[in-house]
Symmetry: C2
Subunit: 346 residues, 2 copies
Amino acid sequence: MLSDQHEMNFFGGTLRLHPSFERTVMKAIQLKNMTCLKYMQVKMPEPAENEVLLQISHCALCRTDAKMWKMGQRDLRLPRILGHEICGVSTESGRRFVVWPGRSCKKCEPCRNGFENLCKSMQILGFHADGGLAEYVAVPKESLIPIPEKLPGDIACLAEPLACTINAMVSSQVLLGDKALVFGAGPVGLLTCLALKVHGSTPYIIDIEPDRCAQTQQFQDKLGIRCATVFDARDFDVCINAAPSLDTFVKGLDYLKDCGKFCLFSGFDRNDMLSASSLNEIHYRQLKIFGAYGCTRIQMENAIGILVKYQKAVRLLIERHIRLKDVPAILPQILESKTMKFIVKF
Amino acid sequence: MLSDQHEMNFFGGTLRLHPSFERTVMKAIQLKNMTCLKYMQVKMPEPAENEVLLQISHCALCRTDAKMWKMGQRDLRLPRILGHEICGVSTESGRRFVVWPGRSCKKCEPCRNGFENLCKSMQILGFHADGGLAEYVAVPKESLIPIPEKLPGDIACLAEPLACTINAMVSSQVLLGDKALVFGAGPVGLLTCLALKVHGSTPYIIDIEPDRCAQTQQFQDKLGIRCATVFDARDFDVCINAAPSLDTFVKGLDYLKDCGKFCLFSGFDRNDMLSASSLNEIHYRQLKIFGAYGCTRIQMENAIGILVKYQKAVRLLIERHIRLKDVPAILPQILESKTMKFIVKF
């Protein structure tokens, strides 16, 4: 049983845990209806069997959170506590973890084939189930991924987006030595470059805004990534879109060599229309298009390893630490794709 | 030197060759301008160095020929003698050959990577250069693929479309045991099923016209292919379109299991428009799209092997033998996608 103020080892010092059994309410960011996001007091989550109550230490904000608030998302069920890039401390063991945000059935065909991220009855934290923009979250024990002591929580919570970029890279059959172009010099685009670099391919990054390239020059220099607003056409083995504009698809096909690979990593705005002649390029030049969505547990474990090694570079992608109550004011900025990573620190 | 009437072995007897050196003109089907197709007398082709003059015995008509006449095609240069599914006799050796219709540079990146069908300076017979709807054609010696005596010329000339279906299958990473759905129960769709069958995957075929399925029941029965106008959604590992409607793409994605493969084998009508939400299916369900165009020499050699073994079944796909001068009257029927294979017999 936990004492009133339970102390445990924590990176950079000790963390005082509120003993969860004494609490009935907590602070959270809840999306009640589309565009109606509230910082409010909610009931404490009650862990089911095989679940554990995690006290959140850090939760990173993602453009998908902003998109949910403004436009909805295929997997969003309302009302919902958002947040799926989570780092916290188990109220049972006191150990620190990041969380694979899915809950998969292990029985359907995608699960059996190792694609738990595509589980037929998938439940995602912050999408179908309440997520990490709260003081506590209830998570399946098997979704916990331990993190080493030397990895700070604000970096560790980026394991989820980094794992998604690993999934994009694996799904699109990127090979050692491939010349890869990433669309969108935001945090996800830059994490994609990191994954490509670690994999042994050569990452380039493109953004329509010249300012966007300049914003993270130090990160690019550290990893040897070239960022520009234009590159030579038909010069890349791989293109990966980390931006939701359909233009990334049309231009991406043009940037590919014959037999090149396009990874459809970011979904597109629904109302955009594409001409069949773009698809004919796929036919005539034997291009390949690969979809990628989410990540698996093992990809998150791999991401933790990369973050340990590259934490100094990755820290350059953090724009600011914010408080939970600041989230509603920050989301519109994230939606505009002009910021780097905001981390909610509890 | 050839005698005045040179005799040589030929399937089913002997063929009397007109000695080419004495002829200055020949009959041909020439596309002069869009929609203006003429049966006419033209100058005999003059083989360049490393080329040989082939006397055509059979040339199959393809929907692409009809499309060129009516709508043009990316690789078409006018005026042009059409025809790229060619079987004939070398006026040098008297041996029978089918012809790989490409001329590739062997130096560009696709050529060096084994994708000679995507050669940067590709010249295709019946597209960029004069083809086989004529009494004679000049072809590079290295494009000749010998055919065994037991294979009749009207079947052998189908090596080219069959090789294109093999290329589609290889390009789209079809695996042994994959459940594959082919869109369009025309001759190319049915040859695709044959290629899939030989490869060890399980072919199904779909056509919006119930009559189309009934037309080749005997072929389907021989190969154990099921044809219908509708199947269960999300039940196929692979979809391959052998029909130019954009609808095959949208429906195809829906027929695929998660992580399924769509082969964009037929190009789409240029003016069709697609909504981005169809592409989002690729993203969310990690679908894969593979382009396929043309074929390689070795795929044509493989096709010859398959045709030898399955010639009785393949004969069921031949609608009729026609004369060269009948071609202009036949093309509109082919464009309507209601016929099977027409073979010009010389």
